[in-house]
């Protein structure tokens, strides 16, 4: 056995720590430590050159005690079972923390789309469905796009499923384009979701959002919509950062009296690069890419990359920072977490903060199942309700037990799943 890093072992270790805090009984622990079901199969594909190649596919269903499993399908050449098990487990906690009636799953195919034609990829998608169509579906397990899979792949899969089952079941899969069963509001969902939680956190702290400032890392989808809503609420966004393709480096663009989002978006290409010349001309300071982290602001919103707040950078945080809202996945390392705890900085943990995306996937499925589609406002207002109540549930627990938000979020999530399992009489 290799001794090295194993994502599933890590997920189990993390679970064990929370289980200790929850004082979960042994049977429940065993039940939640492992995926409920795993499907492993092979997909033969007639390649463009006439040969036949066999690909390995799988689906891991970690838990469906709270509802049908939910989680992506990855196409990756070196996928390992343990990585997928870990990701399926995290999906269970993620759907539980925002309290949507879904469980956790993950799946994929060991393949590299860089080496496959579109037709071959389509064959893989259809082959994947032919293997698991009995075990997935709107009431069992709902896949979505993930690493190296796109809405196109989802549509091929949906089509194959509907062909086999003989009916229209757009709710079998989410992440579909609008017009092909996708939901409005999906683009805004993650960024807006972040700000719904920030808004609630500020309220709990007794701060008026109109008097607060936020520093964003990144200027992609998450940061753009987070900034949009934060400004709509009357707050000031003082900086964003972006990758500059022509200079091969990243920059922070800062304006302490608040960025003009419309202006910045107007000078940003679709690939997220802000036009430096125009930004500087308009009075924005162009600073190194990591300058966002030391910017004076009430809220720090890492919205793009992992491990941005680490043991080294966390010390640079401005004294004014009160909230770290984790828009990106895994932006804070455990060492930095310890520092934040010590310094009483409020953290909205990633799997709660950025759960707007998965919540919107849930809405997509709901709309599919009833074949009735909401306007964008309705989607966003329902999203607000969900995120707000999820946030308060976690914050209440953190308050009442004086524990760190990340721990509280895991405790709530795991407790919800454990309770559901118990009530069903499974454990």
């Amino acid at each position: 056995m290799e001794k090295g890093f194993n994502a599933f072992e890590m997920a189990q270790k993390q679970f064990d720590q929370v289980a200790d805090k929850l004082d979960l009984e042994q049977g429940t622990r065993e039940f939640l430590r492992w995926p409920m079901r795993e499907y492993h199969f092979i997909i033969p594909v007639h390649m463009d050159d006439g040969s036949v190649k066999v690909f390995r596919g799988f689906r891991v269903q970690h838990s469906d005690v709270r509802g049908p499993c939910k989680g992506g399908i990855r196409f990756h050449p070196q996928e390992t079972e343990d990585t997928v098990r870990a990701l399926a487990t995290w999906m269970t906690w993620k759907t539980a923390v925002v309290d949507i009636p879904l469980g956790g799953g993950k799946g994929g195919v060991i393949c590299d789309p860089h080496e496959l034609s579109m037709r071959e990829q389509e064959q893989i998608c259809r082959g994947w469905i032919r293997n698991v169509w009995r075990n997935i579906g709107p009431v069992q397990d709902i896949p979505a796009p993930d690493v190296m899979t796109s809405p196109q792949h989802m549509l091929w899969m949906m089509d194959e499923y509907e062909t086999i089952v003989g009916g229209k079941y757009p709710g079998v899969i989410t992440g579909k384009p609008v017009g092909s069963g996708g939901s409005l509001g999906r683009t805004e969902a993650t960024g807006y979701g972040v700000v719904y939680t920030v808004r609630e956190a500020l309220t709990r702290m007794g701060l008026d959002i109109r008097e607060t400032t936020m520093a964003c890392q990144g200027f992609g989808n998450v940061s753009q919509y987070a900034a949009d809503l934060f400004i709509k609420y009357g707050g000031k966004v003082v900086c964003v950062s972006c990758w500059d393709q022509s200079d091969m480096t990243s920059y922070t663009y800062r304006k302490m009296d608040g960025i003009d989002l419309e202006f910045l978006l107007g000078i940003t290409d679709r690939f997220g690069t802000v036009n430096a010349e125009k930004a500087i001309a308009a009075g924005y300071e162009q600073l190194p890419g990591d300058a966002w982290i030391e910017t004076e602001a009430d809220v720090l919103m890492p919205g793009a990359l992992e491990n941005q707040i680490n043991a080294e950078t966390v010390k640079k945080l401005h004294a004014r920072v009160k909230i770290v809202a984790e828009g990106a996945n895994g932006p804070t390392t455990p060492e930095a977490d310890a520092y934040l705890k010590e310094n009483d900085i409020f953290v909205i943990p990633d799997f709660l903060c950025n759960a707007g995306g998965v919540t919107c996937s849930y809405f997509e499925q709901v709309q599919n199942n009833m074949n009735y589609y909401w306007e964008k406002d309705e989607v966003l207002s329902k999203l607000d309700t969900k995120m707000t109540s999820a946030f308060h549930a976690v914050a209440d627990l953190a308050d009442s037990q004086s524990i760190f938000m990340r721990d509280a979020a895991y405790m709530i999530a795991i407790d919800r799943v454990a309770t559901a399992a118990r009530m069903r009489g499974l454990v």
């Binding site: 001794k3 860089h114 496959l116 190296m148 683009t187 480096t249 290409d269 679709r270």
Partner: protein, 782 residues
């Protein structure tokens, strides 16, 4: 009845005499030289018919002396052959026709003589072409005369025809035997007239049209002759082209008394660099000779108002082994304004190209290759720019370069022979040059469906964002954003549905229908429909295979499309430069075993990295042992710091599995492109683990970044038989990691940084990669 005058006596025609005999007699009286040529042809004709009597006549030429004594002993091969009396020669003529009369029917004889006499009507051409230094003016006149002959008079002996073709090829194109050999298979004599009719230069000069023009002409003729078997080549065109002969530059130099420039190449490079700007201005303020100016006037009439490109076409350029890629200038001219302005603009561009002969870079390039003493002359190609006017802009909707060998394979499924195309919208300059900041679409014509960028974020990131166009209002070359031009021109942008996909925000609609409303959509350049649904990949596969087969070496071409995807234009064709244009990437054979660091024999691209001073090695086993995700990430972070600290392109990164892994970072070191962008080479090691050899990424995480920045990629399979991998060097050498990166002590087992000169007394590392033999070798250069 009219009586005949007494003098001169007129021969009475014997009505029973066959026609051929009448002609022979007449020629005997009036043109004995022609008669001798005819008798020679008749001799050969009979010999081919294996007429025995003719062999006897032929014997008289070699073995026998007139007295009948055997000559073998007396006249051995080192002695001059005896001369036959003139009278004997005359008698041979008579003997030949006597034998012919006996052996052939009068009709056959007559026909043969008629045919040979018709051949005589083209003889003037072979006489002219035969003259090595025939002035271009004379050759052009002779060719014009030939072209105007009625078809039946153009017929000539096959060998004579080939002789003319070879002579003219040598005269105006190239002395290279391989070149001549290829051309002569595909060209007709008339084709030369097309070129000379459009050639400008001193009428009595002896220049050629230069390398680029020669390469294009050869490719054009090869492809034309394959057209009937390949329907896909049916619409292939060459843009309207004019040539300025290579000796015009000498004429220009003498005309302006600039002779001292010719010796400038022997100056020190720094000196040349310093003086070059001034030299360029001196050229720009000089006058083109009148013969060139008057030619340009005619050319401008013929080329019309389309923008033009003035391309260098020097004698050295594009010859095999020294491609001179990008060394001399090619300049765009908008060709707008009054006649005088247009003439001035094009003259200015020509003068600038002339000046580039004396530029520091080409001279240095020649010096490196021992070509400095060659009497370099600069021919020039003036071509209409292939494209279409859209609003105020002029550009081709598709353009690029294609290589018959794919040196940058992004998947093991792609073979070298599958070729590679760098495709852009707008002028091909963005495909030819590597900006490192913008990206052409890379396509392998043999495997068009295996795309480099598979995930949507890759498609967006590596999309072409800017295009080069000619702004007709401003009269200059401009770089504009693709998006803005699409918004501005909307559906007038030609072939748009073949070029772009629609970025819907939540997904990319790769294959847009023809009805999409472009004004309201965000577009991204993918060429998806072009690669999936058009004959373009097949066309390139066909062109590249034919050219490589016929020319006998890998080639690269430039191409553009004017307004639809069915009419490709070939702009240039030359031997494909290998690696960095280095002539030799063959693996050295005599490297002592102890100096070899590693070898590789799978998926090798061509290239050479030398003077490598540092090796950075991430130990795969140690990396595997890391149990915390943070530490795994820290490895990538340290690599990023090393990338900043080590000298640019003087180090090589060697690591396990897939560099740039994002998801499961155990698969390879988690780095971004900016963490590795200074390395000379990225090496992925696929060590087998429990009998399982992991797949490598082939650099796909930032493949296009690597291509554009010319960073080499090499996969190593150390467990394969016959492969050398001196891993011990990393454990026995001093690890200087902590010197370079503070607080990195705990990673010394994982990351090893070896300074080669410290360990091997002043040595450096050289890595040679040869895609032809699919092998690579890294060795110590002491």
């Amino acid at each position: 009845m009219i009586k005949q005058a007494a003098n001169p006596p007129v021969k009475v025609i014997d009505e029973n005499k066959p026609e051929w005999k009448i002609i022979v007699d007449l020629l005997g009286d009036t043109d004995p030289v022609l008669l001798k040529r005819l008798s020679r042809k008749m001799l050969n004709y009979l010999f081919k018919r294996k007429v025995k009597k003719i062999s006897k006549i032929m014997d008289q030429f070699h073995l026998k002396k007139t007295n009948g004594i055997e000559t073998d002993d007396l006249y051995g091969e080192n002695q001059p052959a005896p001369r036959i009396d003139y009278k004997d020669l005359e008698s041979i003529t008579n003997q030949v026709f006597s034998v012919a009369e006996e052996e052939l029917s009068p009709e056959e004889l007559s026909q043969a003589i008629h045919r040979w006499l018709r051949y005589e009507s083209t003889r003037f051409l072979s006489v002219i072409a035969d003259r090595r230094d025939v002035p271009l003016g004379q050759l052009r006149e002779a060719l014009e005369k030939y072209v105007l002959l009625p078809d039946k008079n153009k017929k000539m002996d096959r060998s004579e025809q080939r002789g003319i073709i070879v002579d003219i090829t040598r005269r105006i194109f190239n002395d290279d035997l391989q070149y001549i050999n290829t051309i002569s298979k595909h060209v007709r004599i008339e084709d030369f007239s097309e070129v000379l009719d459009h050639t400008i230069g001193p009428l009595n000069g002896n220049g050629k049209v230069g390398g680029k023009a020669s390469g294009l002409f050869r490719a054009q003729k090869i492809l034309e002759s394959h057209r009937k078997h390949n329907v896909v080549l049916r619409n292939l065109k060459i843009p309207r082209t004019w040539y300025i002969s290579s000796d015009s530059i000498l004429e220009f130099i003498h005309y302006n008394a600039l002779e001292e420039m010719l010796a400038i190449k022997y100056s020190d490079t720094d000196e040349i660099r310093q003086e070059y700007e001034l030299l360029e201005q001196v050229f720009k303020h000089s006058q083109l000779p009148s013969c060139v100016l008057s030619g340009l006037n005619i050319a401008l009439d013929h080329l019309g108002s389309a923008p033009l490109i003035v391309r260098s076409s020097s004698l050295l350029e594009d010859s095999s082994g020294a491609a001179f890629a990008g060394k001399y200038k090619s300049l765009f001219v908008a060709n707008t304004g009054s006649r005088k302005e247009r003439l001035e603009a094009i003259s200015d561009a020509i003068l600038e190209v002339y000046a580039s002969v004396f530029g520091p870079d080409p001279i240095e390039y020649r010096r490196e290759r021992g070509l400095l003493d060659f009497n370099e002359e600069m021919g020039i190609l003036i071509q209409e720019v292939v494209g279409n006017r859209v609003g105020k802009y002029y550009f081709p909707p598709l353009a690029g370069v294609a290589f018959s060998r794919n040196d940058y394979r992004w998947s093991p499924r792609i073979k070298k022979e599958d070729g590679m195309v760098r495709l852009v919208t707008g002028l091909g300059t963005r495909a030819v040059d590597r900006t490192g900041k913008d990206f052409p679409v890379l396509m392998s014509p043999g495997q068009p469906k295996i795309r480099i960028n598979a995930a949507e974020d890759e498609i967006l990131r590596y999309a072409q964002k800017h295009m080069d166009v000619i702004n007709l209002e401003k009269g200059c070359l401009e770089t504009v954003s693709v998006e803005s031009i699409i918004k501005e021109c909307g559906s007038k942008f030609p072939c748009l549905s073949y070029i772009v996909s629609i970025d819907e925000g939540d997904h990319i609609q790769l294959s847009p229908g023809s009805m999409f409303n472009i004004e309201n959509k965000d577009t991204v350049v993918t060429f998806h429909n072009l690669l999936e649904k058009s004959p373009v990949p097949l066309l390139f596969k066909t062109i590249l295979s034919i050219l490589e087969d016929e020319i006998g070496m890998p080639v690269d071409i430039e191409f553009a499309y004017s307004s639809d995807i069915h009419t490709p234009y070939l702009l240039q064709c030359r031997p494909q430069s290998i690696g960095d244009g280095l002539a030799d990437t063959s693996i050295p054979k005599n490297i002592p075993k102890e100096d070899i660091l590693f070898t590789a024999d799978r998926y090798i691209m061509s290239g050479l990295c030398h003077n490598i001073e540092y090796l950075v090695y991430v130990d795969g086993d140690e990396y595997d042992r890391i149990s915390s995700r943070d530490e795994l990430l820290q490895v990538g972070h340290i690599i990023g710091q090393l990338n900043k600290k080590l000298p640019n392109k003087k180090f090589v990164l060697i690591g396990p599995g897939r560099w740039g892994s994002k998801g499961d970072i155990k698969m390879g070191v988690h780095v971004g492109y900016s963490d590795i962008n200074n390395t000379a080479m990225l090496i992925e090691v696929a060590k087998s683990k429990q009998g399982y050899v992991p797949d490598l990424s082939f650099g796909t995480h930032f493949f296009q970044d690597l291509v554009e920045a010319n960073i080499k990629y090499l996969p190593l399979y150390p467990d394969e038989q016959g492969v050398i991998f001196r891993e011990d060097i990393f454990s026995t050498s001093k690890n200087i990691l902590r010197k370079l990166v503070s607080n990195s002590e705990e990673f010394e087992q994982v990351i090893k940084v070896v300074k080669i000169s410290n360990e091997f007394s002043g040595a450096s590392v050289c890595i040679v990669m040869d895609s032809d033999s699919d092998s690579a070798l890294a060795y110590l250069k002491r």
